[in-house]
């Protein structure tokens, strides 16, 4: 028998329902695998006792044939999601000791559907980073290594713990969040599938806020079908989040494997950046060729404001972050460092609690929102955002989905990128999607010359997630799935 941790959600679900193995056995297999994989630093907190109790309850429901859609499936949860009574710190020192007295809507949906929690996953502090090097809990290691090299690589970020845990089979799938690429870039770096749904599809209630007009939750999973199963459970209409959109959640799994004949796939010329790495360009062309072979129509399109998305993002996101993170003041929760008066206490707590990248972004945000600069920066950036959205609105009259590379490079080494702007460029292909509120999926499509996974991104119309699963499964069919060799 193959090891239980090698099963996808879809296969494990069938095995559990057929009582080939129990939910407790499946959970024990993951708990053991997590114990052997601590070198990857994917989990900040392991919750084996809670996992066992939840699995036991799943077995009771499965025995009565009353299991939910995710009954007995062990998941990892990004540290950004509030989990009642369990460590929730956004991988930051400033939230030291914080244990929420409430549960996020997304995780509550997962538990309602029978899923089992294995623990909380590492991430960039407050989801600010593209390499998982800004976590207070240390770097996460990518399970993938360059051919012939033993050097550690980053898993991408900010959902680096989620991506590593899924790629290393130490959870069946994971929750993640994406503000500028934080689901899709780490998925691309680890050979996993990650989808950021349309803004408003998943409730943001109980997710530690970074940039409220951009943040969305989504899953990272081993294949397209598992991502579809996860999103079906995570998404909901939530009265507690006024930006949650009143629209029934479709059965995304039905879209997986649906033929793509006649579908129009747009290739935006502005994504051919300068310099364009040859192997990224080749992968992109290969992806288009696969879709054409399966009957899709390839259409050249133009999204003229693409190059301005990233600089506009670095006004909007830090501005919103500087407001959202004002709440960490040493009074209501988390770290408190004493001072001579209340202001000194705020300043000392925030100085000690936030890491360098978070401080940098709070200061940028404070500056662009400060008196005299608001119109020049924030209002201008929001106008550029209108233009970016308009580019896509026009494209949708010609195409059903847009195909682009997911990242400009494969995974790199920790410490390799030290310049903040160079690090920000990792999100060059993903950030437009957040600025326009659209859904985007990253799907593994091949390996680089040194043996590392590379991803392609599909961008959809608002609430066009089904088209993304449909086309992503066509890419997966052609490219296959990619598994990191186990060295730990």
């Amino acid at each position: 028998m193959t090891s239980l941790t090698s099963l996808t959600i879809a296969t494990a679900r069938d095995g559990l329902r057929a009582r080939k193995f129990s939910a407790v056995e499946l959970t024990e297999a993951y708990v053991a695998a997590i114990g052997k994989a601590r070198i990857l630093n994917a989990y900040i907190v392991e919750t084996p006792d809670k996992a066992r109790a939840m699995a036991k309850a799943s077995d009771v429901r499965l025995a009565k044939a009353k299991g939910g859609p995710l009954e007995g499936i062990p998941l990892g949860i990004k540290d950004l999601f509030a989990t009642e009574g369990i460590h929730t710190q956004a991988a930051s020192h400033v939230l030291d000791g914080f244990k929420p007295t409430y549960e996020s809507t997304v995780t509550a949906n997962l538990w309602r559907d029978g899923a089992v929690m294995l623990g909380k996953l590492n991430m960039d502090e407050f989801a600010m980073g593209s390499s998982n090097e800004t976590s207070y809990y240390g770097n996460v290691i990518n399970p993938w290594k360059r051919k012939g090299s033993n050097a550690a690589l980053v898993p991408g970020g900010s959902s680096g713990g989620s991506a590593t845990a899924v790629a290393a089979h130490i959870c069946a799938a994971a929750t993640a969040t994406d503000t500028g690429g934080s689901i899709r870039q780490p998925a691309a770096f680890t050979g996993t599938v990650g989808i950021k749904p349309t803004y408003g599809r998943c409730s943001r209630w109980g997710i530690v806020a970074f940039a409220s007009s951009l943040d969305q939750a989504g899953p990272i999973a081993r294949d397209v079908r598992d991502a579809a199963i996860m999103l079906k459970s995570m998404a909901s209409v939530d009265p507690k989040d006024t930006t949650s959109v009143d629209m029934a959640v479709p059965d995304y799994e039905q879209a997986v494997g649906r033929p793509i004949k006649g579908l129009r796939v747009g290739i935006p010329k502005e994504y051919r950046v300068d310099p364009m790495p040859a192997e990224i360009d080749a992968l992109w062309a290969k992806g288009a060729a696969w879709l054409k072979e399966q009957g899709a129509e390839i259409v050249d399109i133009s999204l003229p404001h693409t190059k301005y998305a990233l600089p506009a993002y670095y006004i909007v996101a830090p501005a919103e972050a500087s407001s959202n993170l004002a709440r960490y003041d040493g009074v209501r929760y988390g770290l408190r460092v004493p001072g001579d008066d209340i202001v000194a206490m705020y300043e000392n707590s925030r100085a000690a609690g936030f890491g360098a990248e978070v401080k940098r972004r709070i200061m940028i945000g404070t500056y662009v929102l400060s008196a005299g600069y608001y119109d020049a920066y924030y209002v201008r950036a929001q106008k550029v955002r209108t233009l970016i959205k308009r580019d896509f609105d026009r494209a949708w009259s010609k195409v059903d989905v847009v195909l682009t590379p997911a990242t400009p490079s494969p995974a790199f080494a920790p410490g390799e990128i030290t310049d903040p702007v160079q690090m920000y460029l990792n999100d060059i292909f993903t950030v437009t999607v957040n600025m326009a509120g659209l859904p985007g999926i990253s799907v593994p499509a091949g390996l680089s010359s040194d043996g590392l996974p590379l991803g392609l991104q599909l961008i959809g119309k608002p609430f066009g997630e089904e088209s993304l699963f449909q086309v992503a499964s066509a890419i997966e069919r052609a490219a296959g799935v990619f598994q990191a060799p186990q060295w730990w």
Partner: protein, 95 residues
């Protein structure tokens, strides 16, 4: 627009983050390099363009102005670094 060291100190104060004097020059450089990169937005013609206020067009949800939640002060202060009964404790602010 360029950030000088006095601006770094002012922004840090506004953001309520204590900054060590020896970190000020480094922060000024970092902020300048990011702001310089952002300035390419000045190339975009935004005349007559409305700023984006919502990515998904929908009617804003409204609710009745009623109390629907609450009455659990113990939960509210449970994570506070210092609290007494149902009050947060802070350094003295009024003489």
């Amino acid at each position: 627009m360029s950030v000088d060291q006095a601006t770094v100190r002012r922004v840090a104060r506004l953001a309520r983050i204590k900054v060590d004097e020896r970190d000020v020059p480094r922060l000024a450089n970092e902020l300048n390099s990011i702001l310089h990169w952002i300035e390419q937005l000045n190339q975009v013609d935004v005349a007559g363009v409305e700023p984006l206020t919502a990515v998904v067009t929908m009617k804003m949800k409204k609710r009745q102005d009623q109390v629907t939640d609450g009455h659990y002060p113990a939960k509210i202060v449970a994570n506070a670094p210092a609290h007494e009964d149902s009050f947060f404790i802070v350094p003295k602010v009024v003489e």
